[in-house]
Amino acid sequence: MTGKRTRTLGLIAGMVVVLGGFGYLLYGNIGENIVFFLTPSELLAKGGEAYDQPVRLGGQVKAGSVQWDAQALDLRFVIKDADGEIAVHSKGAPPQMFQTEMGVIVEGKLTHAGSQPLFESTNLMVRHSNEYQPPKDGHPKPEQMYKSLIKD
């Protein structure tokens, strides 16, 4: 058994390591290096480097931009943030919560489509809010929502 003094010193050293770690995480800058997705303006700001690189792009679905071809399972829409927007092309059915003005993240590559940039998405994720709200009057009830989904 080690002496009481050694033990106390060991505990203090351990605490310093733990608290130092917390402090580094809270006040260090590593937060800026961990980014799950880029916004349209951030991606466009990279210029030529942005193209043909696997990347995640996140933002809001621009109102009125959604074009869904149910026969070909072909989806086109525009992702926007405050300062920029990028057209997105995706194959396959989107998640059931996908809708206009919803937050979305797409995985894929930025490509040249003629003169315009076009994001070719291989994976589409819906980002929802942390606030939950009861439906407004006239909104479909959840059961009806599911039914309409099954029909599609």
Binding site: R7, L11, G14, G31, F36, P95, L124, M125, E131, P142
Partner: protein, 242 residues
């Protein structure tokens, strides 16, 4: 071994254990029913929102559990009393269960809402790391024979491993993630029926958690008693042969 021998007198479980078990059995369904009754299906995701009432409490309870592991580990190192080590081990086991549940329920919620079962976003990744740290903690325990050494090493893991827990909690605030931020921030105000339902369910989970930890700690005490008794028996037998 062929002769029936008197075992040690079994230590009684703490008095609170059985009532808390009953309370958990009643509180759990009551909280779930309350959640369905007082909060309307969400505008965008309908009844899928109700998964929050099991997913979030699981995560909270797991994180509280790892804090208990942390405190018990410090107390063990301070006092070298093995009862703190037993509490740490029992709590770690139960918290691993709830972390696994959090990930599974989150995945089930993520598929219909986000459109994916899993992605390497900071919240999801740090939670997976949290699970691995405490699975490693349990593995370390089962690989170490000597009681004192096992307690010392696992206390070190129990303290250092806790570093990751605040990262899990704050990941959604510090970094840009797919996962939404906390609906009920521990430091924030509570208002909506959703938040109230969430809190009621969290209390039910907490009771269940306390019961499981109490049960597991009791079992750990019995295991220890049995080991000591077997050792004693082996010793007295070898004395008889000499």
């Amino acid at each position: 071994m062929n002769k029936a021998v008197q075992g040690p007198e079994v230590i009684a479980p703490p008095r609170w254990l059985t009532p808390v078990g009953w309370a958990a059995l009643l509180a759990f369904p009551a909280a779930q029913i309350t959640g369905f009754l007082i909060s309307a299906p969400d505008r965008a995701m309908g009844n899928l929102q109700k998964i929050m009432y099991v997913h979030v409490p699981s995560a909270w309870v797991a994180m509280v559990g790892f804090f208990v592991v942390f405190v018990a580990s410090v107390r063990y190192l301070w006092s070298r009393d093995l009862k703190h080590d037993r509490l740490a081990a029992a709590t770690a086991e139960v918290s691993v269960l709830f972390t696994g549940l959090t990930l599974a329920l989150g995945s089930i919620w993520g598929r219909p809402t986000w459109g994916i079962w899993w992605t390497w976003d900071p919240r999801l990744t740090s939670t997976a790391i949290m699970l691995l740290i405490y699975v490693a903690y349990l593995a370390l325990r089962s690989f170490t024979e000597d009681e004192e050494r096992r307690a010392r090493w696992s206390a070190a893991v129990g303290i250092l491993g806790f570093l990751n827990v605040p990262i899990v909690y704050f990941s959604v605030k510090w970094w840009r993630t797919l996962h939404q931020v906390q609906t009920v921030d521990v430091t924030g105000a509570i208002g909506s029926a959703y938040a109230i339902s969430l809190l009621i369910n969290s209390i039910a989970f907490m009771i269940l958690f306390a019961w499981l930890v109490g049960l597991r700690t009791q079992l750990a005490g019995l295991e220890r008693q049995r080991e000591a008794w077997l050792e004693e028996q082996a010793l007295s037998r070898s004395d008889a042969h000499v």
